[in-house]
Symmetry: C2
Subunit: 391 residues, 2 copies
């Protein structure tokens, strides 16, 4: 196991009606002038925003609103939010929504205490300080509610990039599984896929002898395997929603990924798809992961065989471990398709003729040495072949 | 899943030589006058104390020392520590040792900011504030490095009792697996047993449909099953030590126990043994758990069958699940014995004739309504029978 530091100081309030604690928690963590940041009108229509804002008002907290966050959140709204924070003396940002809203809130939080262009942080500069952020999560997916990470898309060039800093970890996150019961099945499935991607990206390691984190990752994958079909079959299943929601947080706060190298090739390769086609990140991952896994499988066949046996219930073929490894990848792919996820470029809305453009942005613009690094190193030729496997 | 709050703000510095970060971390978390609290002379002999104190000195931090913590830490030294903190204006306590040292440090930390008798906190009063505590862990066992809990034995009446408060969560914990390589096999095995007890106490729940935490607990039990024999066979196996050390923290910071009722009967029943005989807590648990589990098994046979199949690799007997359940308990017991743990009262150094006294303290002094509550409710008669099963 590699040496590591781990710090996850977020306070989690989990369960039915916990959004009514928003005011109490914002006050506890230093908020007196709060920016309520959210996405579309559904948060208003559902009554969630009203409940959250009532909770803030009951705690004597001033609040301003900034809605309009899109999936694959854009830099334009981030600039707007930063201006609003500065002009309205905002001291706390409360994200009410999913990963896009939380990531946008984190970007605003960093930019509000910085004199330069916030995009610097997505271009390599480390975030040293940021306004405190709280979240009321409405979809189990991104794990941003417990992570130090944020991903933003810059309209100019449609660059989708991430940053990470302990300064961006939410002070508190409110997780009410009941809020996710109204999600359309496609979004639910895309969230499940994103969670499983966060687990696989950590599972694909070159660090030897990391049984504890291997087992924890497998535990969360097994949870998703069990709960995914239950929640697609019955969207109102609170217990399944609750298990998925806690798994989604645990999958990405890194308690299961410490002390080991990680992959993140699939995320990198997918980001070009959601940046260009504005598809759901999880849907893009559903198409990307099986291709990447098959392409890199020979790098460590036994690792793929292990997850095949332990998670997907495959029988180990001791004479031909590569058969088991491939069977596990196929089982994962079939599982994602069974949840309603796309299986190829066409179903995702991507085009084969764009592959050169995807590869160029991936390998030349977003990765300075022309390669995607992780479990293996993938050059332009590798990435081209991987995109072609998705067609 | 039940509603819950979860907060684990401890900063973990994990890996080889991380004890050299003690000064940097104490300063970061507000320490300027530090009490270094430890156990016996081995911490001095091994050079660990010198390295830690050099790190403090290098950071410009004043420190005082208080050694002499015993296993099953006593109130006498706690009183001494509280006086020292007050007279020497201590603002941070650094525990260098195992669970006993950390628990003692937490008690001192609470008492130092309290005008009354610190024992009040072990008699039901909630700890609202405490001096900040940091830890340098030397044995994977108690989980106190990441938990809000502390257990102290009061010499008068040999009462062993616990308290818990978020104010007692360590600010930082330094986990260097190499420090545990010099532990005698018996202590290593007792630590492994304690970790597995923390997992079983959470596994035995009456909350339905908690797949995510079931799976996480099973993952950590599987890790201990894999790494336990490896570390007993080869005490210098750093990787096995590292996997056990992170599992020990995760087993007890409660990320795997949220939203579900827990048991803690075995801990309650064992505490009387280590209070009376001063045996290792883990060794007491090795004798206690199989007896308790067999006694309560009929309360939920399928739960015991589940852990038998998923962790102990038993084949499910679908016609007679109680056979599988019992097989799992026997497998666990055999595993503990194989690590070198005692299997009965005699090997533990306990006496059958003391059972009435054990039951009296357990049921009348330490539990106000005469019963031990958890997975099931155990009255004096039940507890008597359980102790008799251990003979």
């Amino acid at each position: 196991m590699d040496n590591f530091s781990f710090w996850s100081p977020t306070y989690f309030a989990f369960g039915k009606d916990s959004e009514n604690r928003a005011g109490e928690l914002a006050a506890r963590f230093g908020g007196s002038r709060v920016l309520v940041h959210f996405g579309g009108s559904s948060a208003r229509r559902s009554g969630l925003l009203d409940r959250v804002e009532k909770s803030l008002a009951d705690a004597g907290i001033y609040y301003a609103e900034l809605g309009g966050v899109q999936p694959n959140p854009r830099s334009g709204l981030v600039y707007e939010g930063i201006e609003l924070c500065k002009s309205d003396n905002i001291d706390f940002i409360l994200a009410v929504g999913g990963g896009s809203v939380i990531d946008s809130a984190k970007a605003i939080a960093a930019g509000a205490l910085y004199d330069g262009d916030f995009w610097d942080f997505y271009d390599g500069k480390h975030v040293e300080r940021a306004l405190p952020v709280g979240t009321v999560l409405t979809i189990a997916a991104a794990g941003s509610e417990g992570s130090p990470d944020s991903v933003i898309t810059k309209e100019e060039g449609m660059l989708k990039r991430g940053t990470g800093s302990d300064a961006l970890r939410p002070k508190f996150s409110i997780l009410d599984p009941a809020l996710t019961q109204t999600l359309p099945p496609y979004q639910t499935a895309a969230g499940i896929t994103d969670i499983m991607a966060h687990l696989y990206e950590r599972y694909l390691t070159n660090t030897k002898d990391v049984e504890v984190t291997d087992r924890l990752i497998e535990a969360l994958l097994l949870t998703m395997k069990h709960e995914g079909p239950r929640v697609i079959a019955d969207p109102d299943n609170y217990e399944a929603r609750a298990n998925i929601m806690w798994a989604g947080m645990m999958a990405h706060n890194n308690s299961c990924g410490v002390g080991r190298s990680q992959d993140w090739s699939s995320h990198n390769i997918e980001h070009e798809l959601s940046a260009l086609y504005d598809c759901a990140h999880g849907a893009g991952l559903a198409v990307t992961m099986p291709a990447v896994f098959k392409y890199v499988m020979s790098h460590d066949v036994m690792r793929f065989a292990k997850v095949a046996v332990r998670v997907w219930g495959c029988q180990m073929d001791f004479d031909h471990p590569e058969v088991t490894a491939l069977e596990g990848i196929e089982a994962f792919r079939s599982f994602l398709i069974s949840l309603g996820m796309p299986k190829n470029f066409e179903e995702l809305g991507a085009r084969e003729e764009d592959i050169p453009k995807l590869v160029e942005t991936l390998c030349r613009v977003n990765n300075s040495d022309g390669c995607v690094h992780g479990f293996t190193t993938l050059n332009e030729d590798d990435c081209t072949k991987i995109y072609q496997m998705m067609v």
